[in-house]
Every structure is written in C-alpha cells, then in structure tokens.
C-alpha cells in the first residue's frame, strides 16, 4: 500500500449567498511537496485555503489529512491538526517582540510570570534550521515586511505545522527575499513538511513548486507535475489563449517569457511638459528625509518608471506627488500650476489620480459598496452631483459599467468591497482612477496581486490614458514591469535618482545595480 498523501480535499463546495466561490474542488498535496496553487483573481484560491484552515465551513466535501478524515471547524482545530496558514495581511501586535508575537495564543504557563527563554530557544532553533533569519527580541513594528512574514511563518512552525499554506507571500518581497523564502520552503519540505504556495507569478511557480493545481472560476482546471509543464502552458490554462498582439510584452513583464524577445512598444510621448518636479524633499511620519532633492520632468503621454527596492522612498514620493503628503521643500508643477501647499482635494480636482500601494489601508472603504467606492474622491464634482446632491442612480449605472469593463467578480454594484477577492479590490481602485481621466496618474505597484489577464488589461488602460495625453508615473518594485512599460526608467536609491535610461537602451543589470546603490555615478 502506498503512503497516503499529506492532504486530500474532495469535492469542496462553498457558496456565499448566491455566489459559488468553490464548485466541487479537489486538491491533493503529497508529502515533502511544494504545491503551487494558481489561478486568476477570484478563482477561489484563498477561499479554498480558508476552508482548510477552518475559517469557512464548506457546504459540501471532505478533508483528509494523512489519510484520516479531519473535521476542522476553526483555526484552532486546523493548528491542532498540523495546518498553518500565513495570510497576506498579518495580525501582529506591533509593540510586542518577535517572541511574544509567536507565543501569543499558545498555551503559556500563567500570564503573569511569562518565562519566554525556552520559547526563544525554540524560535532560534527553528529559524536556524529553516533559514528564517530573525532576531527573537526585535520589536515587530520596527521590522520590514519581509521579516514580519518570517515571523508569521515561524509562528506556524512553532505550533507544529506539517502543512504550511502561504497566500501570495511573494508580493511584498524583494527579489532577494523571495529567493530566501524559497530556500526556506525547500528546507521545510526536505524536513518532511508540505507547503501550499498561492501565487500569480508563473516564473515563481516554476522555480519552486513540485506540482501545481490551476483553478479558474471556482473549479480546478488541472493538476500537473513541474516536469510536465512550462510557462506558456500554465498561462494558457489560467487565462485561455495567449496569442494576441501585444501579449508578448505583457507576458515578459509577468516573467512568462524572456525580456529580450519583446519588440518595441509604440509610445505616445508628446512635446509639452505635463509635470515638473524640482528639488523635492519629503519626510516620512517620523520626520526622516526619505526623498532628498528629487527632480523629474514628465511630458504629456509619457510613462516614467521608477525602479527601486521597497523602502527607498517610494511611498513618500508617491504620496507627495499625489498631494497626500506635504512637500518639505521643492516644487511640483502639474500642467503649469504650482501644487505645493494645496489640499489633497485640489490636487484631485486638478487631475492627479493616485493608485496607492497599500490598497486596504489607503484605497478602499471596506464596508461600503462598489458604487460608493467608485464615487470616493469625486463626491464634490459635477460628474457625480445633480442640483447639489449626489445622484446615486447615475453612480450605480456607472458602477455597473465599470464592473463589466474591468471584469470585477462581484454580485453587483451593491456588493461590499471588503467581500471581494484581493485582485478584484484592485480592479475597483483602478476603475476609479481611470474614470477620472487624469492628467497625471501615479501608479504604485498597480498590478501586485493581479492575475495575468488583469495585468494585461491594466497595461492597456495605461496606454489608453497616455494616448489621451496623461502623464504616468509608474512606481514598481517589479523591474520587468517597469522596463516593459516605461518610456524612461529612473532608478531610485535612498531617496535620490541613481540612474536614468531611455526605453530601448535599458540594461536590466545596470538598473538593478543602481537600485541597490552599486551604480557608477549619480545622475
């Protein structure tokens, strides 16, 4: 008799009211296996894993762990059964140390005399064994996202997880951190564990997974061995055919094909200056100067890409140019008007649209409907108001159109945005930004968490906006994306420009070096 697989999910059905999120899905994850879970936005990946982790109760279907039927009614049961899950947004107590956060919620003797030295030893041991470098005494709020994620993984390991679920873990990580994470995942499966990795990035799947399952519209499309597949095949399974013009460029940005196979993109750069930024200085919330003397000119219809490793001032730059964060020094002119010192609403009215990086925190009203979220930001414009009052009937109609145009997977315009899948939330935010017909568009990691189809759609929308004369600032940690889309690429390092390249003469390695402070000369 062969050994039973680590996990077997059979015929899982899950509905939310009228929405069938999972339609009889099967999933088998073997021992010592990294299993990729792929699929478009709203395909049901997160929901399937939430069922396994006891967050949702399925309408039908069964779960077997190591061949034994498991009844998992809550995350507590899941943990007891050896299932651990790292969500995209972490629940951590910011002012606690790493150790305290990890131990939190496990059985510790007496809350008053908490002896954590033993726990600390175990954490040190785990982090060494799996290459998850972290200081057990560090306070969590001071840690970068990548390290916080390691804390989350250690939390699962500390509780004895044999099966670890990672929901889109790489979206917030630098390439180096991704490599480290994949190394750790290998160490885990070598140690006898199994890992489920949810991701949109085909290249990542191919590099680390032993097997993958592709989902589409709440169904399992196929489960396939790594050796039997390649990027094109997977892309095809996820979206359907990939043979239309322009696809190659986008596919490259997605890492599905090699960058040098890409032909020239037709750009629509005009001659008029749309945006002029001079000697910009911006401070973060703690008062540190994270942008130091930054200058930039954007012409109408031009796309300028800002490449950089997270934490080099991208957020501050984006917020300053969107009018959300005050300018400490320097000037910003948009179509000839000096914007410094004006209220955010004035920037919006002047045609500046902003797609923030942290969509949950900065982008949406989770308890409001799609219609209301699309109105947010233009509630005082004549587009939305009639005789001084908001015309909700018209707003709803526009929401219906936006849902169709941006293929938001939702029941209707009344659906609460907080109930949408991660990628669908981003579609709503993008629909809102493009609907403003901006003169300047600031996109910060706009396609993070989006599937291939949505990403392509975003690129098309960006090009459509530039054709209409909109200047676009694309700030992204995805170097492939920046290079494929931009007319000009600027490398950002420690708040300053560390290099600049025209489209067509971009050397990815040179950009990479400049981004990490190894470039030759500052420009």
């Amino acid at each position: 008799m062969t050994e039973s697989p680590r996990l077997e999910m059979r015929g899982i059905v899950k509905t939310f009211g009228p929405v069938t999120a999972l339609d009889a899905v099967d999933l088998v994850v073997g021992r010592n296996e990294v299993h990729g879970l792929l699929g478009g936005n709203g395909a049901g990946k997160t929901t399937l894993m939430n069922v396994l982790y006891g967050l949702y109760r399925p309408n039908a279907g069964e779960v077997l762990l190591d061949g034994q039927p498991a009844s998992i009614g809550s995350p507590k049961d899941a943990i007891a059964a050896g299932v651990g899950m790292v969500h995209q947004t972490f629940l951590q107590v910011d002012n606690y140390t790493v150790t305290e956060n990890i131990v939190l919620g496990t059985d510790v003797p007496g809350p008053l005399r908490l002896d954590l030295s033993e726990a600390k030893e175990r954490i040190r041991d785990l982090s060494e064994r799996f290459g998850l470098t972290v200081d057990p005494d560090a306070v969590v709020e001071e840690l970068p996202v990548g390290v916080r994620q390691r804390v989350e993984i250690l939390k699962a390991l500390y509780r004895g997880a044999k099966l670890l679920i990672l929901d889109e873990p790489t979206t917030n990580l630098t390439p180096q951190e991704v490599d480290d994470l994949f190394g750790s995942m290998r160490a885990m499966v070598d140690d006898g564990m199994s890992v489920v990795l949810i991701t949109h990035k085909i290249r990542e799947t191919l590099s680390v997974c032993d097997r993958m399952t592709v989902m589409r519209d709440g169904r399992r499309v196929e489960t396939i061995e790594r050796a039997d597949t390649d990027a094109e095949h997977l892309a095809e399974k996820m979206v359907g055919s990939t043979t239309d013009p322009g696809a190659a460029v986008d596919a490259a940005a997605l890492g599905a094909v090699d960058a040098d196979k890409v032909e020239e993109v037709l750009s629509s750069v005009g001659t008029t200056t749309a945006v002029a930024v001079r000697d910009l200085v911006v401070v973060n919330d703690q008062g540190h100067e994270l942008i130091q003397g930054f200058g930039l000119e954007l012409r109408e219809g031009e796309i300028v890409g800002i490449a950089g490793v997270a934490g080099n001032g991208q957020v501050e730059l984006a917020e300053a140019l969107a009018g959300v964060r005050p300018l400490r020094a320097g000037t910003v002119e948009v179509t000839g008007r000096s914007m410094g010192g004006l209220a955010t609403s004035a920037w919006l009215e002047h045609g500046v649209a902003y797609v923030p990086e942290d969509r949950h925190r900065d982008g949406i009203l989770p308890t409001a409907s799609i219609t209301e979220n699309l109105v947010l930001g233009s509630q005082r414009s004549d587009q939305v108001r009639r005789r001084g009052l908001i015309d909700w009937g018209a707003a709803k109609q526009r929401a219906v159109d936006a849902i169709a145009e941006f293929s938001v997977r939702a029941n209707g315009p009344g659906t609460l945005v907080g109930d949408l899948s991660g990628g669908n939330i981003q579609r709503v935010i993008l629909a809102r930004a493009f609907a403003r017909q901006p003169r300047m568009l600031i996109l910060h990691n706009p396609t993070r968490g989006l599937d291939i189809g949505s990403t392509r759609f975003v690129y098309q929308q960006v090009r459509k906006a530039t054709a209409a004369g909109c200047a676009v600032l694309l700030i992204s940690e995805d170097l492939d994306e920046v290079i494929a889309l931009s007319d000009r690429v600027i490398a950002l390092y420690q708040g300053s420009k560390a290099g600049e390249w025209q489209h067509g003469s971009v050397d990815a390695y040179a950009v990479g070096r400049s981004m990490t402070g190894l470039g030759e000369a500052r420009v």
Partner: protein
C-alpha cells in the same frame, strides 16, 4: 481598444434565480432586533419573577400605556423627541468615528440659549420669537460642542473626555442661570421664570395637546436622512467612519469633518433643549436633561450605523420609558427595570452581530 480582460465575469458564480432578494436582506436586518427584544423581555421577566412580582402584568402595563390613552400616546411622542435628538447627537459624530458623550450638556446649554431669548424678548410675537428661540437653542448647542471640536482638531484632546467635562460645566451653568439670573423663587426647585407666550410651541388637539416640536422632529428626520445619504458632506462623513486613511488619500479633510460632525451633533442636542423649553416646560429647570444622554447613546448604539433606524428605535425606547411609571404603579416593579431591559436589548443585539458573522460564514 478597450477590450475586456479574460472571460466575462464568471457565469458559474451567478446562479440564476437565486438573487439576494430584498426580503432576505431585510430579514437579516430585522430578525436580530426581534430576537434581542424577545430575549431581553424573557430575562427581564425572570428577574421580575425573582423579586416576587408578576412579569406578565408588568410587561402589559409597560407595553400598553403608550397606546391605551391619548395621554400616554402624547407623552410617548413628547419623550420620543429628545430621545431621538440626543441619539442623533451621538450617532452623527459616531459616523466619523467620534464619540459625543456630551448630549446632555449640549441640551442644557441649548435650553439656556432658548430660555434667554424667550425671557429677554418675551414681548415679541410668536412668528419672530419662536424661530429665534429654536435657532438660539441649536446654535448654543453647536457652540458648546464646538469647544470640544476645537480642542480635538487643534490640540488632539480626546472628545470623550472633553464632552463629559463640558456636561459637568453645563450643570453649573444652568444652576447659576436658574438660581441667579432669572430665578423663579416660588418654584421650590431651581428653575427660571417662564418664557413669553410667543416662545411657546403651539399645541395640536385638546387635553392634552401635542406640541408641534414633534412635527419639527419628523421634518428633521427627513432632512438628516437626505443629508447623510445624498450630500457630499454626508458621504464624506460615512467615508471617514469607514476608513479614515482612505478618506484622507481621496481628498477628504478628515479632522475638519470630524469637528463638523461634533458641532452638528451639538446643534441637534441644543435644538432638543430648546424644544423642551418651548414645548414641554415653558421654562428651564434643573434636571430637565433627565436620562436623555444615556438613552440617546443606547439608541445610537442599537442603530448600528443606520441613520434610518434611529427614529424607530427611539420610538420603542420612548414607549418603554413612558410605560415604566405605570409599571411601577400597577405591578410594583421599580422603574429601573426598564433601563435594565434596554441594556439587555443592546447586549443581545451586540451578541447577535457575533452570531450573525458565524452563521454567514458557514
């Protein structure tokens, strides 16, 4: 070239014929209230039985007083007005995430403003004086809450703290006005002299008449509903309450808006004070704030963010409050029992949120 991406939104997702019917949605809203009220009465009944009284008789008088006699009905409507207005005073700032615990202070200061004009200009005809009294009440309440709003936006002083402190100051203020400025020595209780004829809200019907402040309140209900739902400011308030950061990023001046919410709340409470003066007492007296603050908070919390639900909940609470007195007379159950029941309803309602989240998940 605006092509749509991927396939059109997944057809299997939308099972035809199983639209979320409006009926089902409405049930989700109403059922928790019904269940909570029933449970609260069951627990309340057990307590009444435990102290040796008859729960059936008690509840009968609580629930029927408002409807059996014209007197009871009018009294209920007169209670409904300040309870509802104080509930708005709590709920409007809450929409922006701010807690106004100062409705009683704002009500008293509003009453002071109204009574001042009603006494000083007592010779003026009603068409002039009555609007002045009501507006003065609303403005005074707004100014009083404005102090808290100013401290909050300028110096980040917590609004819970400041509104509570302002309540205590307002007690001193009306005490001073009622015993030193326009004292009515014959009243035997700190009270001002009566306001002029022209400052009184006309009554409707006979023995006893209903004051027209009730109609004014109905009008205000409509205005507030339209304000919250249809105006940009109302939308911005809800946006701030839903996600402060996102509201800021999208151009909403959040701290200004939160301050405005407090001021509007204060104005509504102040208006309640003026209506009490012009419609019920004809003067200002100590203790006229009754327990409207706590009732307003209970109603505001029970509504769980829905401005539309407030008038109905406030009416229910007014019925209980009016019934409390007759319950004490007929069934010898202390009036405090009603407050316990109200608190129980709120408690069960909050528990139902948790239960509902669980049911919806599975």
């Amino acid at each position: 070239m605006s092509e749509t991406l991927t396939a059109p939104p997944a057809t299997p997702a939308e099972t035809p014929g199983k639209r979320p019917s409006r009926v089902a949605e409405a049930l989700w809203l109403v059922v928790p209230y019904v269940v909570s009220v029933v449970l609260a009465f069951v627990v309340g009944g057990l307590i009444i039985a435990a102290i040796g009284r008859d729960p059936i008789a008690a509840f009968e008088s609580v629930l029927t007083t408002s409807f059996n006699t014209r007197f009871g009905t009018i009294e209920t409507l007169h209670k409904w007005v300040p309870v509802l207005l104080c509930a708005y005073a709590f709920a409007i700032p809450l929409a922006t995430g701010k807690f106004n615990i100062g409705a009683e202070g704002q009500l008293l200061v509003g009453a002071t403003g109204g009574v001042a004009l009603g006494i000083l200009w007592s010779d003026l005809p009603m068409v002039v004086l009555l609007p002045c009294v009501l507006v003065a009440g609303a403005l005074s309440g707004a100014v009083w809450a404005g102090i808290a709003a100013f401290l909050m936006t300028k110096f980040q002083v917590n609004e819970i703290l400041s509104t509570v402190v302002l309540n205590f100051i307002s007690f001193q203020l009306i005490d001073y006005v009622a015993s030193h400025v326009w004292p009515d020595r014959g009243a035997g209780h700190p009270a001002t002299t009566p306001v002029g004829e022209g400052a009184l809200l006309p009554g409707i019907g006979q023995a006893p008449p209903m004051h027209t402040g009730v109609l004014l309140t109905v009008l205000l209900v409509i205005v507030i509903a339209v304000f919250m739902r249809r105006t940009s400011t109302g939308f911005e308030m809800r946006a701030v309450g839903a996600n402060l950061r996102a509201a800021q990023v999208h151009g909403i001046r959040t701290s200004r808006l939160a301050g405005a919410g407090l001021v509007v709340g204060g104005a509504v409470a102040g208006l309640a004070g003026a209506i009490e003066v012009a419609g019920v007492h004809g003067k200002m007296l100590e203790g006229m704030q009754s327990n409207f603050l706590i009732l307003g908070i209970i109603v505001g919390l029970m509504a769980r963010g829905s401005m539309l639900a407030l008038p109905f909940i406030a009416f229910g609470i007014a019925v209980l409050e009016v019934g409390a007195g007759s319950m004490q007379r007929t069934a010898q159950v202390p009036v405090e029992m009603v407050l316990i029941i109200e608190a129980l309803i709120l408690l069960f309602l909050l528990l139902s949120d948790i239960a509902r989240a669980k049911i919806r998940r599975s």
